[in-house]
Symmetry: C2
Subunit: 261 residues, 2 copies
């Protein structure tokens, strides 16, 4: 069974049975993958306001009621077990990774599923726009920037962006396409001079891998799902849970259903 | 000074000084008006999840942090004083109206500004689509329906809709136009047979006024901002505040800025 051909239910089962703990890039073709953020109810309202104010960095695909772990839009899933690798923060112990959070579950935990650029990258490729890091078999290069997110309560911080170098004609197509996907970061936040948004060296990303930029290409920057992880770090919380980078929650939502175009 | 020509700051000042306590239809041309919902933080997260799940009935234009009363998108306004008439619910006293809620203000209150159909009606008229209740100088007819909202925690209930009768060619235009305004109820939820959504008699609306339906016209139904008021009633809360029907919060957001088209 090829991993790109299995459906989300099959993937969830594999993960639950301990047969999949790897990153999810290329898994379950056609289905949207999501960043996961889990917070106590006490902080969840402010985080939800933060996400609402920063839709490009934190596009909310799904929000669950306190204590719930079966996403409305992914019936049958269990968010406590069906992500390949979790990252847990506690004030006492800092960060640790786990393959299940069932034993940590509490009735006051609120889960957010946030859109991820895998969805629009699939669409870019389908429309013939080359995506350098995929061509090169690497992770997308990501950078801290000086672009400030709109704060909400204790949640604040600068935007993290992902970068894809492109030629002009592809940039136009890429903007047209990604504009139709507001729930997966939407249109770019910057094009051109990296210095304008506080990036010093495109060959030294803060996260992910560097990619070559060819003659005549312009760097294009999209808001990135690493932003909420940074914002959570800044918020001085006692406890929160996210997916481990690259190990996303695979939803039952079709990529095409996230298009507003 | 004509009320349709004043700007929102001028209106807020008038209201604060006790010189305007009337409905806001036709006031401040070009500016979006909003439904107001104010809840204690304890219930606000669940209400925000409800609104997120029911964007046509509860389109969130703005959400404020607990205790805040100056909307991000309407700097200079004070939500405790700048609405012409408020409706306050307490478990002990039921409903009452007030021209200010300053003395009731608490640091745990969360304010939501929800989109209102005045915005898309202005656009329909501008594009030559006749709107019957405006032609007739009446309030829009509104109906309880059997369409269930997606529940979130204690918030649940059926959708309230507004009805505008139109000829076929105008319906097409009206759908094209309102589709571009997802933050003010968006496209219709039903067209045609009122019985299908549980409406018995179009001439006996549950709220607002009845309007004549001419030969060859089809009734078109949009989600209505009265829905959250019903949902709040169902939620068995101790305390909440809304605007009094028709007495909206006039924002500094231009109607045209709410267009996604």
């Amino acid at each position: 069974m090829r991993m790109n051909e299995i459906n989300p239910e099959e993937l969830w089962k594999k993960i639950r049975e301990g047969n999949w703990s790897k990153p999810t890039a290329g898994v379950c073709d056609g289905y949207a993958q999501g960043n996961l953020v889990i917070l106590p109810k006490e902080e969840a309202l402010e985080f939800m306001i933060f996400a609402k104010r920063n839709p490009k960095a934190c596009p909310m695909i799904d929000v669950l009621e306190p204590g719930e772990f079966e996403p409305l839009k992914s019936k049958g899933a269990d968010l406590r077990r069906d992500v390949p690798l979790y990252r847990v923060y506690t004030r006492e112990k800092g960060f640790s990774t786990r393959d299940s959070i069932e034993d940590l579950w509490r009735r006051d935990l609120v889960s957010f599923v946030l859109g991820c650029s895998f969805t629009f990258e699939a669409e870019l490729l389908r429309e013939g726009v080359p995506v350098r890091h995929i061509e090169s078999g690497r992770n997308v290069p990501m950078f801290d920037t000086t672009i400030q997110c709109k704060p909400a309560g204790r949640f604040h911080g600068n935007m993290v962006v992902s970068m894809r170098p492109m030629k002009g004609k592809d940039i136009i197509k890429a903007i047209e396409i990604t504009s139709k996907y507001p729930e997966v970061h939407g249109s770019p936040v910057h094009i051109g001079d990296p210095g304008e948004i506080g990036i010093k060296d495109l060959q030294r990303p803060d996260y992910g891998d560097s990619v070559p930029i060819h003659e005549g290409e312009i760097p294009v920057f999209w808001a990135c799902g690493v932003t909420p992880q940074n914002v959570l770090k800044n918020a001085d919380l006692d406890f929160f849970i996210t997916h481990s980078p690259g190990h996303m929650f695979v939803t039952k939502i079709k990529n095409s259903d996230l298009s507003k175009g």
